[in-house]
Symmetry: C2
Subunit: 198 residues, 2 copies
DNA sequence: ATTTGACAGAATAGACCAATTATGTAAAGT
DNA sequence: ACTTTACATAATTGGTCTATTCTGTCAAAT
């Protein structure tokens, strides 16, 4: 049985493996999967190319780890925004979607997503669901002990609608302010429909 | 001054020009802009290639007419669904979005949209706005003489949220039934928020 | 009004080859 | 634990060439 010690706390010093992944993330985001070379990742991590191969069997495995890391940090980002202090509920929701949406001006996002889908399908399929879960939790918490007022729409479905609206509005708007305005409308509608605005 | 007689009623017999456009629409939708030849369009219209050039100065002009026609018919489709008899309001809304969304499995849609954007930017920019307007009109009509209950969200913005949600949900779901379920949730939320469901 | 046949020039697709670059493995060194 | 150097193989890129297709225009025919 391998001593497969999982890190107990996030405060543990990061593994070399984690450092490599952390360094690889921006490289993959910037150049896409195909045009990212193991050399580039190694340089970004201040390591030799062979050192990377000591920790990952190949490019695909490295990329899978990168995608996994991205998913985790994205969900963490959403969680952080959803419970950020000093913001009203609608601003928390807005921040959560705003800060977790993929950056604009990424031509390679399609390529990256395609590769991820064919290489680590589970992670990609779940990232959206995880964020929806976070949002649903936040809505439930805001509801407190009150009863959910909608008969035909569950909390999760409401969160899903918000996420869908975020995606769609992102596509249809050009500048960030238009996106924020659209999303604010969507959030207002959902909160109003669920009685979460006084 | 040219006798540029516009057709007075939609009941006029269609021009040969219109016939060509009508025949060209499915061809462009099927093959995209680049891989659609004037020959293919002419064949689809049961005409010679030269006959097409008699009515359109070139491929670009033909395509512009096709895009225009598509926009018009899409808006007409939305309108028809929004006022369809025998359906409840939420079903009308659902049908409107369902029937006007671009068909699935279109790899060429991106190419088509790009070409259209660079060739007839106005039409593409307006089609979404037109549909939103139709939806907003329907919502206003459903409201009757009642007052719009939302202070921070206009009717147009509510319609825009629905449209954005439709786009986003379309992307995130795979099968039609999931899309319909998601859209139904979105519509319920909006109608509930605006007091249009008893 | 539309067709047929014909045409020059532009664009596209396919094939092929050479040069470069990337992947993954290995051995020896610090 | 990592570096350096080296290497075989695969993948990518760039270039050139040819053949084909497409556009847009013309003239003659019905």
């Amino acid at each position: 049985m391998k001593t497969n010690e999982p890190r107990q706390h996030a405060t543990d010093s990061p593994t070399r493996r984690d450092e490599i992944v952390a360094a690889a993330v921006p490289v993959f985001l910037r150049f896409g999967y195909r045009k990212t070379s193991m050399d580039a990742v190694a340089s970004a991590a201040n390591l030799s190319r062979q050192a990377v191969y000591l920790h990952f069997p190949g490019k695909e495995a490295l990329f899978a780890a990168v995608v996994d890391s991205l998913c985790q940090s994205t969900v963490a980002l959403a969680h952080s925004a959803l419970w950020r202090e000093g913001l009203t509920l609608d601003d928390q929701l807005l921040a959560a979607f705003d800060e977790t949406m993929p950056d604009e001006s990424m031509e390679l996002l399609a390529e990256l997503l395609d590769t991820a889908r064919s290489l680590v399908p589970d992670a990609v399929a779940n990232i959206d669901a995880l964020i929806v879960g976070e949002v649903a939790n936040r809505l439930r918490a805001a509801l407190g002990r009150r009863k959910w007022p909608l008969a035909d729409v569950t909390v999760e479905e409401a969160a899903q609608v918000l996420q869908g609206a975020s995606y769609g509005i992102k596509q249809q708007t050009t500048d960030r302010s238009a996106y924020l305005a659209g999303m604010r409308s969507a959030i207002e509608l959902v909160l109003h429909a669920t009685g979460l605005t006084p």
